[in-house]
Symmetry: C2
Subunit: 421 residues, 2 copies
């Protein structure tokens, strides 16, 4: 007998009818002989509706109370799914994140999981019951207040429970069929991947792929939980996220896919003194404003003047704040000016195989040149090449790369060891 | 500094606008220098809407899950009120019944409070915060599951907290101005009582007065908590429920008021053998069906035949079930037939003074006779006379009694010691 953890998102349980469909799926899984734990998000737009109610009574709702309010959504959906399961003849019990032993930090709205002690869940499973656990929430270790986990919180709850219960798999049910070689809305012949390593999925998630949040993949990787991303609308197999690049066969697919991100802006701090400490000062200002940075590029330039430019990307929404924060510290940082550009798009090519294949970078740049796409900045990791281009050229660039690496249609992109990178 | 517990019902917090009005009232109370604890019911029709959702996913929702579902309503309203209070500049924290230390039995849907250990509430008050507590709920002492308290649960929560915290008063905010000498919709010149003893309020509640539930009054009486029933739409003083009849001055008002109940039916079990054990058998059958009985009347009758009739009243909704249960045991009970009548109305005259005034019963019956109302059965307690009449004559009877005892308009009904009963 194996243990399966399933997670269903808000649209999967948006109505009474869909709740019953999800319950049928859960009972079917149980009938196959598995122990089943299910994490359910709030129904449909419940979270948004509650946020709206909150804003009607208070312009700046206090974070602790917002968490007390929002967690009602998951409580409602999990209780309803449990009821639906029972009416199909199987035993089910719902639990809050707190009751399930999800222990977190005290930061309301974006708490992090410190530990998971799912004693009550284990007891329920031993009693033959299906356990429903409210996602997106936990209880603070220090204050004993209820906390919410921020974006991707329900996925993270599911993976964390799977890790703590040593589940055989964590199934994430979503509205796409799995992880694709590129966004099918941009590249019609994008293919669904049968499997992808944790590291590649991390890069995909960090590069703009929306199907799984970075934190959830990182948690799965750390504890070795296989994550099966699949559609809640069919029985098709999705994409299994598991395994490490080191485990991969020598003859491995070179490239996994192309991810893109439209939500970033670029900031260039020009002509800063090129000596130790300057970069630190810049990024401390940004960090103090609680802004996350993505790409960072500093090149040798203007060496004769002893000055250089530092460029970084960040979420567009944080752009104006970052610029203001830097302008306020112009004297200390001693830059010439801040150049801000929010009409950029980021494209990333990801693949474990690129480590051992030196031709990839060349193919990458040639493909973009042929598509008449100009590269603004380049940044790479061991298994990823990311560039910033003009946002209006993003779709064209994604398609060009997808084609250049044979990721579409019938042919899998496989380049064997021996070809140079 | 005193401690005030306030309770607001669902209609008081049905919209964002009303929530803000309630928050203003709470903050005003705090600004007078009191410690304030507030119990809030779910917004408007939330509980009914959740019940409806439940019935859509399961024909017979399991009780444990129903409690998990329904308690979301109070969680939402209390968090919103706390937010509204904070935006007015005062500190507030909301708590579930479990967090507030409301410990109950394990009977889902109608759990009883076993104990209240409000440590976290006390801490919040000591820190200068207003504490919001979700009403209608607690946590089971045995199973640690969340429970709901059944009808009147929020009022009971408020009184229980007031008792545990040794509050100076428990204010129940409702949509009427207080406790009246009769239902103002039947008797236009009914008067608001300034005060009423626990025992009289118990009788009023047991006799059909809907303003406070019996259990809540009993809890208040047991712990000596003064309960102030008042309107949430004005600043008028309402009715204080406090004190015992023994404390009352010798010169006391004779009659407090007239209560009525339309929701009962009458069952007569005819010609049962008049010997020990028969009545017990009848009421055990009813008890096993989990039906509550109100009035019980057995008179000496048909003595020559050694048989008697037993009559009792019960909620109309339970009538058919009770009759069926009795018919099923006809052989054991040996009755002749069951006579069922659901076109009855119950009227009760209540007053601490009637113990020492023998003329009341006579005045009572004469008033009804003058109004041409026939009395079906009579049942009394030390401070109450109840009769069953035809339901279509109920209004007329209430008005007649209210007039006969001078309960209306400018004159209070005061009959001094010395006049016989």
């Amino acid at each position: 007998m194996s243990l399966v953890v399933q997670k269903y998102g808000g649209s999967s349980v948006a109505t009474a009818e869909r709740i019953k469909r999800v319950a049928e799926r859960i009972v079917a899984t149980r009938k196959q002989g598995h122990d089943v734990v299910v994490v359910v998000s709030a129904m449909g737009d419940t979270t948004d509706e509650l946020m709206d109610l909150a804003s009607q009574v208070a312009p700046v709702p206090p974070a602790r109370e917002l968490d007390m309010l929002l967690t009602s959504g998951e409580r409602i959906s999990n209780a309803l799914v449990a009821m639906a399961i029972q009416s199909l003849g199987a035993e089910a019990r719902s639990y809050t994140g707190s009751q399930a032993g999800v222990i977190t930090t005290s930061v309301h709205g974006k708490a992090r999981i410190i530990d998971v002690t799912p004693g009550r869940i284990r007891e329920a499973l031993d009693a033959g019951q299906i356990a429903l656990v409210a996602g997106f929430q936990g209880v603070s270790q220090d204050t004993k207040d209820i906390t919410t986990l921020g974006r991707g919180g329900s996925d993270t709850t599911a993976v964390a429970l799977a890790a703590a219960l040593e589940a055989d798999v964590c199934e994430i049910y979503t509205d796409v069929d799995g992880v694709f070689t590129a966004d099918p809305r941009i590249v019609p012949d994008a293919q669904k991947l049968d499997s992808i390593t944790y590291e590649e999925m991390l890069e995909m998630a960090a590069s703009g792929a929306k199907v799984l949040m970075l934190r959830c993949v990182e948690y799965a990787r750390r504890y070795g939980v296989p994550v099966h991303v699949r559609s809640s609308y069919s029985d098709l197999e999705g994409t299994i996220v598991t395994g490490s690049m080191e485990d991969q066969a020598v003859e491995q697919a070179l490239i996994t896919g192309v991810a893109h991100e439209r939500g970033e802006a670029k900031v260039t701090v020009t002509a800063v003194p090129d000596h130790p400490g300057v970069a630190g000062r810049i990024f401390r200002v940004i960090a103090d404003a609680e802004i996350d940075i993505d790409m960072v590029v500093q090149n040798v330039s203007r060496a004769a003047e002893g000055r250089t430019d530092i460029t970084f990307t960040l979420p567009k929404d944080d752009g104006p704040r970052a610029v203001a924060a830097l302008e306020a510290k112009k004297a200390e940082i001693e830059f010439d000016q801040i150049v801000y550009n929010d009409h950029v798009g980021k494209i990333s090519l990801i693949g474990a195989g690129m480590r051992s294949h030196p031709g990839v970078t060349a193919t990458f740049c040639e493909a973009l040149a042929e598509a008449d796409v100009n590269i603004d900045i380049i940044s790479t990791s061991e298994i990823r090449i990311s560039v910033l281009v003009r946002d209006v050229e993003l779709d064209k660039a994604v398609q060009a790369l997808h084609r250049a690496f044979d990721l579409g249609g019938g042919d899998e992109a496989v380049v064997y060891a021996g070809t140079g990178r």
